[in-house]
């Protein structure tokens, strides 16, 4: 499923341009070393880490979209960084757990 199709289901707020990348899996974490070490390729990251370093980690880890939970605000330098790495940023008022459940349903990952 690509990012646009995913967000049609999620209805979160899209803060960046929407690249046409695939999302196959999801990973929830606020620890960047954990994301770096364990997040799957072509995934969406669910986190509250709203800053530019998250983009660096996402890009290195092959993450295509980031969902900022609890309505965390993205600082000014985060959005252009995301766009230049072709990473989409979505924002939601849900916490990490609820956002994860919603994403799991949308991606049809609940067995």
């Amino acid at each position: 499923m690509n990012i646009k199709e995913l967000n049609d289901k999620l209805k979160f707020e899209l803060l960046t341009k929407c690249p046409d990348s695939e999302i196959k899996k999801a990973y929830t974490s606020d620890l960047l070393s954990d994301v770096m070490g364990n997040a799957p390729d072509d995934s969406v990251l669910i986190t509250i880490q709203a800053h530019k370093n998250t983009i660096a980690v996402a890009s290195l880890a092959g993450i295509n979209a980031i969902i900022l939970c609890n309505n965390r605000k993205a600082p000014e330098d985060m959005l252009p960084a995301a766009e230049s790495e072709c990473i989409a940023i979505l924002q939601t008022g849900l916490n990490q757990f609820d956002a994860s459940v919603t994403v799991a349903r949308a991606l049809d990952l609940c067995s």
């Binding site: 606020d30 620890l31 960047l32 070393s33 954990d34 994301v35 770096m36 070490g37 390729d41 986190t47 880490q49 800053h51 530019k52 370093n53 998250t54 660096a56 980690v57 890009s59 290195l60 880890a61 092959g62 330098d77």
Partner: protein, 306 residues
């Protein structure tokens, strides 16, 4: 960008130069045999001393304490006013602008830009005068380092094969607490490996190791450098910093151990997984550390077909 007298900019200046001005301390380049005078010496004697030694200024010192600076200008004024039998203390400039020996050379360059003085006294931590720094000292040091570095580059140019993936060397300076630029080394090396169609898993491993090494230098060290060498069959990453070192390496390597501050943790770093991650993704991992710095060397093999 502000126009500067001495054109050294973080983003555009070659690494050698950045390394030279940020990576070296004033104590390494200052002159240590300082000719100083005591405060009760007369201006007449000062004139002779300066003439004999061909210098244009001297620190005035009592028991290693810096009281002021006496310059040719002060001497001329005293001469004009017929006050050559006065003590130096009466004519010196007090509260001189000083440098500290632990400051990076970049500070000194800023000082030479901001003040019109030709020399600065250098004090140690106990505020004792330990040296003098002139713009000449900086130039001499710069030439010395450049000689070494350009020699090295010439050797590389002679022997390096440039088109193949073999023997690419990249150096990155890492600055303490500079989160903004963290990730530069890893993303450039990642891009390089992608260009050469290296397997995605291996790129991820290299990127992970380099990123964690960069972040560790930013968070835990006084600054350092990351040197990446890519050859036909492996990527070698050498991370070196200037201290303060790791007290207990076994502990640092255990999952979950971190000395990061709350502030760093709140950004998502400091989970204590960096070193364990690096070890896990690398084919060879070596670490040594002392107070003067930590050195970590990591090798990630590139399989035949990539």
């Amino acid at each position: 960008m502000i126009k500067k007298l001495i054109p050294v900019y973080e983003n555009q200046t070659p690494l050698v130069v950045l390394e030279l001005i940020q990576g070296h301390k004033i104590s390494e380049i200052m002159s240590r045999n300082v000719v100083s005078v005591k405060p009760d010496v007369t201006m007449r004697e000062v004139k002779l001393m300066m003439k004999d030694r061909g210098i244009s200024g001297m620190p005035v010192v009592r028991q290693k304490r810096l009281l002021g600076i006496i310059s040719v200008e002060d001497l001329l004024n005293a001469l004009e006013d017929g006050l050559m039998d006065d003590s130096v203390e009466k004519h010196m400039s007090r509260n001189p602008v000083i440098l500290e020996e632990q400051m990076p050379v970049s500070f000194a360059i800023d000082y030479f830009e901001n003040y019109s003085f030709n020399r600065f006294p250098v004090l140690n931590e106990s505020k004792e005068l330990v040296g003098m720094l002139t713009d000449r000292d900086i130039i001499m040091h710069m030439i010395k380092v450049m000689n070494g570095e350009i020699g090295r580059l010439e050797e590389l140019a002679k022997h390096g094969h440039h088109t193949e993936i073999g023997n690419v060397i990249r150096r990155y300076a890492v600055v303490q607490n500079d989160f903004k630029n963290a990730g530069k080394a890893s993303s450039e090396i990642k891009a390089l490996l992608q260009e050469h169609d290296v397997d995605r898993k291996i790129i991820r491993a290299a990127a992970t190791a380099i990123y964690e090494l960069e972040i560790n230098q930013v968070v835990h060290s006084l600054g350092g450098e990351i040197v990446c060498r890519i050859s036909d069959d492996h990527v070698e990453v050498l991370a070196r910093d200037r201290g303060p070192g790791i007290k207990n390496i076994d502990l640092a390597l255990s999952e979950g151990f971190s000395t990061a501050t709350d502030w760093i943790r709140s950004m998502g770093f400091g989970a204590g997984m960096g070193l364990p991650n690096i070890k896990r993704v690398s084919d060879d991992f070596r670490i040594k550390s002392s107070e003067s710095g930590t050195e970590i060397k990591v090798i990630i093999n590139l399989p035949e077909d990539s």
